[in-house]
Amino acid sequence: MWKYLHKLASPPHFYRLSERMIPWFAMPGLILIAYGTYAGLFVASIDDQQGEAFRIIYVHVPAAYLSMMAYMIMAFGAGVGLIWRMKLAHAVAAGAAPLGAWFTFLALATGSIWGRPMWGTWWEWGDPRLTSELLLLFLYFGYMALRNAIDDITKADRASAVLALVGAVNVPIIHFSVEWWNSLHQGPTIISESAEIGADKLYPLLAMIAGFTLVFGALLLRRVRTEVLYRERRKRWVRDIILSGRGR
């Protein structure tokens, strides 16, 4: 098993393997999203409290969930790269960050749209989820800004890895703090924990979550492949690929 993992960590091997993996992520993912969108918009019954507006959860919840998962992947890759000095792990972290930031932004935008009918405003500081997502977005910006500020790739990998790990420790603490802060205020939140979610609403949601995750996987693989190509650009295996015209 170690031998397999060791082989996987080799950039050319990963590059070839991921080329075949991407369709297996993208196709099922898109199908699930298509089903989820259709079912979410037309099949799921209207919500008693929130009317049609609740349907945005079909984008908001997957986006929020992935924004967190992307950070964990980023921190995991950073940790593995820092401790075991695996270059591919650093490439994964570098690829996950911008994706995570986009999903965070999507979660914020959909969260804001969702809250508007309820709050009457486009933003509600009292909503702990929204505020946590905003802080998460800043964490992503900080990570990417640090990477950008350092010219040497190895040094940038390692410095941003330290930041990602420190951030990972702090993310749950930030969540907890914002929840506590909000509990003092009892402002209107997006998701009321007590509400039961009926089956007809649940299945499209699960489909969207699964679909989004698969599509995220496909996008991540693509980004990591690009990172790997760039980082290894002076190596022979990259030249061979470019010269042979293969490799999209």
Partner: protein, 204 residues
Amino acid sequence: MSAQLTADALTLFRGDRCLFKGLSFALNSGELLLLRGSNGSGKTSLLRAIAGLLELESGTVYWNEVAVRKEPQIFQNSLVWMSHQPGFKGDLTLIENLHYEASLRPQSNQELDEVLNRLGLNRLKRLPMRSLSAGQRRRVALARMLLADAELWIMDEPVSNLDSEGRVLAMELVGEHLAADGMVIMAAHQDVDIDATVQTIQLQ
């Protein structure tokens, strides 16, 4: 009491550039390892890698047959580092700086006053470091080498910025250190004339 520094197949990259590959050497007590090469050839990077300031791509440095990676503190305790920057606080006086350095090496046996006398720094000792000239600061760096009471001296172009008197003094100190069974690794532009075993590595 003899010590040994061995390097086994050291490889270092800076960005995409390979500075050296598979570099090995063995240095014993009383010997000087001289690194020669033009600017940018990797002399300083090799010194920094040995001192532990840069991470090697591959290869191991051994101190007395123990890999430095495994027991870094023992190795660091036996070495003293001299680079282009003197590494002193400009706002503190000479003596305050040396007191701080001494507090980090509590087991050193050297006498501060003796060393200051030897290097002609006595009359400067209450002056803030920033009011000393570059050559004077170099001499304080040499004082650090003596005070550390360490076996291995790693020096990056120690005689640049020194007048001829300073150069003679520096090489005298190196010679004495080697004669007392110490080891020196030095990066330099020109060859050194010294009464000891000298190994030379030429970097491209």
